[in-house]
């Protein structure tokens, strides 16, 4: 609204935004600083700067608390799941956005309905399904579930995104004799890569931070993913009281997504508006 910008409005705007944002930034810094303290000094003054830096918290949490295993598990499950979501969702979204056939809308809606299903409904049946398929308590089983459950939202976003692309290039290629799969691989995917990346980042963040399904579908400690591992450490707080170690774990959990976010924030914002804001 570029009509009038009274000085007063601008000052108020800066003030409010500044207050809100400094709180958020402070929160992130505080978490990081706390992870470098030791427990005694932490509780002497919770909000002060650390006097000494205790990097050993990280060493402790990495080895003794086994975070390095959990980190490894997340680094296996999450990127693979995110990639496979694209492998399944992109072709589906492409066809659902372009082709016109009877029942196309029904099919699309069939997928999109999945967005509204609370995961708690699926917990128990999924548990027994995976058990019967002998993939319970495996990273593989967990990944398959992550992929399947992410399909509705990803297809929704990608369909909206694909629809906003004109199809001349594909038509030209088709006339030139390209087969549909080639068109898809060589033309459509490269052009739509911003959208694919955006959706992938969105999925990465969601799956990285997820722990409800991981909680139910994996049980042995070896198979814990990072977010679940930190949750488990939080649980053990009642016995160990090693808060600073917990904070080190928390930093390890949020650092990757934060870094990803800082570098890719434009893309992430895009992915939200893909399906919703058309044109």
């Amino acid at each position: 609204m570029r009509i009038r910008h009274s000085k007063a409005t601008i000052i108020i705007a800066y003030l409010v935004l500044f207050l809100w944002c400094s709180f958020t930034i402070f929160a992130l810094f505080w978490i990081t600083l706390t992870s470098l303290k030791d427990n005694r000094t932490l509780f002497q003054n919770v909000w002060a700067l650390p006097q000494e830096i205790h990097f050993e918290n990280y060493e402790l949490i990495w080895n003794t608390f086994d975070i390095k295993n959990y980190f490894k598990n997340s680094m296996i499950v999450v990127p693979i799941s995110v990639f496979m979501i694209l492998v399944f969702a992109a072709p589906a979204a492409y066809v659902l956005s372009r082709a016109r056939f009877k029942g196309r809308n029904i099919l699309l809606n069939f997928f999109v309905i999945g967005i509204g299903v609370p995961f708690v409904v699926l917990l128990i049946p999924l548990y027994f399904l995976l058990a019967r398929l002998h993939i319970i308590d495996t990273l593989f089983g967990l990944s398959i579930v992550y992929i399947s459950l992410s399909l509705p939202f990803s297809i929704f976003l990608l369909t909206g995104f694909f629809r906003s692309f004109p199809s001349e290039l594909e038509e030209a290629a088709a006339i030139d004799g390209c087969r549909p799969f080639q068109i898809f691989l060589k033309i459509v995917l490269p052009i739509t890569s911003p959208g694919l990346i955006a959706v992938s980042i969105f999925n990465f963040i969601g799956i990285w931070n997820e722990y409800l399904l991981a909680l139910i579908l994996t049980s042995s400690e070896n198979n814990r993913v990072l977010s679940l591992g930190v949750y488990a450490i939080q649980n053990s707080m009642q016995y160990s009281g090693n808060w600073v170690a917990l904070f080190a774990g928390i930093v390890i959990v949020f650092l990757p997504t934060l870094i990803l976010y800082i570098f890719m924030s434009e893309r992430i914002m895009e992915s939200l508006t893909l399906g919703a804001v058309k044109g």
Binding site: V46, F111, L126
Partner: protein
């Protein structure tokens, strides 16, 4: 799209794989859930016993069910009001000619990428009675008598609601911001020339022109808030206090409760199905209420 109109053979290889995964690991369990909800079952030692609708009859009389459902809906409604209210406020502030708009937007959005466990631990410390930031601040400015046990039984739910609002404002801010950015500024300029005040401009230009996006966002928040789990579950650490139980949390505790292993799988599934129905009803009603002619501009 001439090429694909005739080429129905494409559908199967392109959509097929996704459809199979979806059917097998999403739809099939959901339908199975329907069956489980008719059972009385602890899942492990006991063999399931068919009891028909008894689970559903029981849940209607279950005090915990109604309390948790009430809280869930409260989060959706109150949370929604504040989140969208704050989002619009921030949109206005960000659009009022300041510099660094991108920076502010980025920071406001940040909580959405941070793991819920980090957020809940953070807020647990901020709201701690003895050494929390809030009480510390109040004491520092002399308002010690206002220092409250924010995590105590009476206030913990509201504290959690504050955290939820703070976290998700950024998400809807981004959506609304980009939707409003698409409105041609000339519309506002003309309206201003014709003497419209800001409120009128808001209700007659902004809202109608972002209606599509706004309704999708509202519906998405409705669905999202009814499903909310991780951020609530870890709010009071270890096992969530019963004062913050919402329906998804209640379902989890019934089915997999760690403290008192209850393992009432059939009953838990029944409740989760009720939740699902509520979500569906919400979506259907919303789409009906929000329906409007597309405005082209």
């Amino acid at each position: 799209m001439l090429v694909y109109e005739r080429n129905r053979r494409l559908v199967i290889p392109f959509v097929g794989p996704a459809l199979i995964l979806y059917l097998l690991f999403f739809i099939y369990p959901a339908v199975r859930g329907l069956w489980y909800s008719t059972l009385d079952w602890s899942g492990f030692n006991q063999t399931p016993e068919f009891i028909g609708f008894q689970n559903f009859i029981e849940l209607f009389q279950d005090q915990w069910f109604w309390t948790t459902l009430y809280r869930t809906v409260l989060i959706m409604v109150l949370g929604g009001v504040f989140i969208f209210g704050l989002s619009f406020l921030f949109v206005i502030l960000l659009n009022s000619g300041i510099r660094g708009k991108s920076f502010f937007r980025t920071v406001i959005f940040v909580p959405n990428v941070i793991a819920p466990i980090a957020l809940t631990t953070l807020w647990g410390f901020i709201l701690n009675y003895r050494f929390g930031l809030v009480n510390g601040f109040l004491t520092a400015i002399g308002l010690e008598e206002f220092a409250q046990p924010w995590m105590g039984p009476e206030l913990v739910f509201w504290s959690m609601l504050v955290m939820i609002i703070w976290t998700y404002v950024g998400f809807y801010l981004v959506i609304l911001l980009s939707a409003i950015a698409k409105i041609p500024t000339e519309l506002y300029e003309v309206a201003h020339l014709e003497g419209a005040n800001p409120l009128k401009m808001f209700t007659m230009i902004t809202i109608p022109l972002i209606w599509d996006v706004l309704t999708i966002a509202i519906i998405y928040w409705g669905i999202f808030s009814l499903k909310l789990f991780e951020i609530i579950f870890s709010f009071t650490g270890f096992i969530p206090k019963s004062e913050i139980w919402t329906t998804p949390v209640y379902v989890y505790i019934l089915g997999f409760g760690k403290i008192n292993p209850i393992y009432r799988l059939g009953y838990a599934t029944a409740i989760s199905l009720v939740l699902l129905v509520i979500v569906m009803i919400f979506v259907i009603v919303s789409r009906f209420v929000f329906k409007r002619e597309r405005i082209e501009y």
